[in-house]
Symmetry: C2
Subunit: 481 residues, 2 copies
Amino acid sequence: MCLPAHTVGMSDPFVVVGGDAAGMSAASKARREAPDREIVVFEKGEWVSYGACGLPYYVKGEIQSLEDLVSVTPEEFREERDIDLRTGHEVVAVDTDERTVTAESESGTVTQSYGDLLLATGSEAVVPPIDGTDREGVYTLGSMSDGKELREYVARARDGEGFQQPDRGPACRYLEDCTGPVGVVGGGYIGIEMAEALAENGFEVNLFQRGDRVLKGFSDETSEYVADHLRDKDVALHLDAEVEELAGGDRVETVVTADDRIPVEMVLLGTGVRPRTDLAEAAGIELGETGAISADAYRETSALDVYAAGDCAEATHVVTGDPTYVPLALTANRHGRAIGQTVTGTPTEGGGVAGTAAVKAFDVEAARTGILDYEAARAAGFDPVSETVTAKSRAGYYPEGGNVRLTLTADRDSGRVLGASLASEYGEGAVHRSHAVVAALSEGATVADLENYDLAYAPPFNTTWDPVLVAAKVLGGQLRD
Amino acid sequence: MCLPAHTVGMSDPFVVVGGDAAGMSAASKARREAPDREIVVFEKGEWVSYGACGLPYYVKGEIQSLEDLVSVTPEEFREERDIDLRTGHEVVAVDTDERTVTAESESGTVTQSYGDLLLATGSEAVVPPIDGTDREGVYTLGSMSDGKELREYVARARDGEGFQQPDRGPACRYLEDCTGPVGVVGGGYIGIEMAEALAENGFEVNLFQRGDRVLKGFSDETSEYVADHLRDKDVALHLDAEVEELAGGDRVETVVTADDRIPVEMVLLGTGVRPRTDLAEAAGIELGETGAISADAYRETSALDVYAAGDCAEATHVVTGDPTYVPLALTANRHGRAIGQTVTGTPTEGGGVAGTAAVKAFDVEAARTGILDYEAARAAGFDPVSETVTAKSRAGYYPEGGNVRLTLTADRDSGRVLGASLASEYGEGAVHRSHAVVAALSEGATVADLENYDLAYAPPFNTTWDPVLVAAKVLGGQLRD
């Protein structure tokens, strides 16, 4: 055997690169399973284990302190969980032959050997390749410090200390009394959540979307539902509006598209994220076709005892069985936790992903899961067919209630449920109702199976047939014809 | 062949006994599938296709008109759906040899031949065998006319035209200013929904439960959660309080238990329902062990071409595979619809039941599904094990939110999910979250499968691990130990 001796113990540390959801879940789980193992976590920033998903609500002002987003503090990890957490340490190299990582900090460079290594390097906000993204007043929202800067900006602007050029007159186009105006580039989750956060603070918000609809991973019908609501909330929606330049002086002043020049005093880029893979690539670890780190069912990469989890890694789609890149918090937590078990002697699969996502946009909620895109479905060997229904969210006679708009997609031949996209008024249950479809597609269930689920019913919660069942009935009817 | 000729057509009517959910779903579906078939529905009352589940909200005053509970009127069935609906017709006999039913109405007796027959005779409220249930002021809530009477009573009492005996002084024990007091016997759905309806109208409500907890089909923890809330809402909860007599003169005046005599001016009996099977029994059609009409997967009874659906019939439990009696609206609709397809040439199974139920109690919501009772689980060959968790309903830092209390039960050896019981503040999603568990147990999924479902997450809707996943993690941990 040419492999180094590999036994679990003090001389065989579990080393984690990256101290957010995946990394800290793994470290914590490993600590619970192996109280005596040495566990070292390198985090280049100061924050660990924070809920980045909460940042838009912090900027909005609904959450008062950045610390509120932190589920466990560095001190708690160190003192209560006995994890050797080294913040301010950036790992700059991994040597899979020597089984070491090299980290740099203010106090110098350290080399740390590992028995097992987890790469949980996360993702970074994509900055689109256009002129002007380096101007002042252009933000992304990927990190706690981004959130801090944006909140400070919002507070200043609300206090009348914004950056309007006094010589250009009132810049708002459609609000009588506005802060801003501001631009949001990208109509995905972050773009929409930030449009809400800014608009609810009195900003005139221009949302620029390159394609013809927001939330492009959702169904057309959900996109339309959300877009209509954004307009109702006075968000200026610029569809098919590719941003060509963020023009201005030191500060951004204008969003330039092919058709328009929109004055702004701030721009938020919500144009997606990409996996941070430099470290893995440099170490010769394989990336998948998606560009994220490839890993097997146990989340082990092409390098022995090197695992990957969270926003830097691929996962297996439960419907297609293919690797996919869906960087979301639950998967990061779940995969981290599984790795924590695996490296402490209980091999545990990380589980697949269904591409499930949820978003709140002002007074509506939306969710999506599975495969909705017909091209993607066909590429996976399916013959997709869909139905969209609009069904009451509660008994028609019940005093509260609204509608759920639900698109259900299935394979024509097998009837297998492939995906769903749902929207409703906030509180009317589009998101929680999606749970039934996630379960169905995770189990390989057919539309007929779904149609027969004995879902809970009472007038304050749904009609006798829950909207999910209504959609299954209608799609089932089409499949039977 | 000694069977009568049996071809679908004008001479071969589809006859339905009972015009509520099961009956009218079957008739409507059969009409859509077979535009020329003769379809005759006998209904002994005047109302058809009404939402009995909405009656408590009508009594409460949140629904203004009884007609609002009717989803399709008799006229619409007759004129738009071309169904020969005969209200005021009570079927008094079925002859399965002659293939006829005999119905009586004000205008006499008719004999109607059938090609296919559906018995959808429903259920009736159980009146417990105690003295005094025939006194004035004692109500049940099984029918539209019951609802009408109760609403009229509530309106009179609120207007100060109640029935307090002037010589007995203030009858309320704990409310300073109350209407009533009144008694509700039975802590199931109807009892609890009516306790809310009455209390919200200013009545002092005494709820009597024979056993030691309300909602006995739910988990102990859910019962406790709901009971605590009922007490918070000033409902006087009398547990382990078997009612021995409803004493009084012409009108009820006192609820007598072994330990107490509670003055009341009205009593609502919410002590469950039993299937109406007289007609089937007299016709020699088999009943099951539950006492309800037995039927196969296609809902056909022991008599050829005679089907049964709704509250008069058994259904197959998806977890145990055994016949069970769970009289609820969705099953009635679903089975009726399947029969409508079967009798028009597309044999369709009715589907099983999971015993899923939901209830709102003031400001809390609760749901249950599957097998929770350990004796029932053992009788079905399982070795049940449970965990109860209390998990946040939304991200901890999110400004809204509460808790979901969730009991999850599984089979120890196989890990198979057997059932769940959930409670939360109203609006915090106990009911819609139960959908995931219904799907899981319908698919025979294990706790490990459930734990890996990629459920939707965003801070306004849950924590990164939805409460359902938290429960699966905790129970999964116990199963792995």
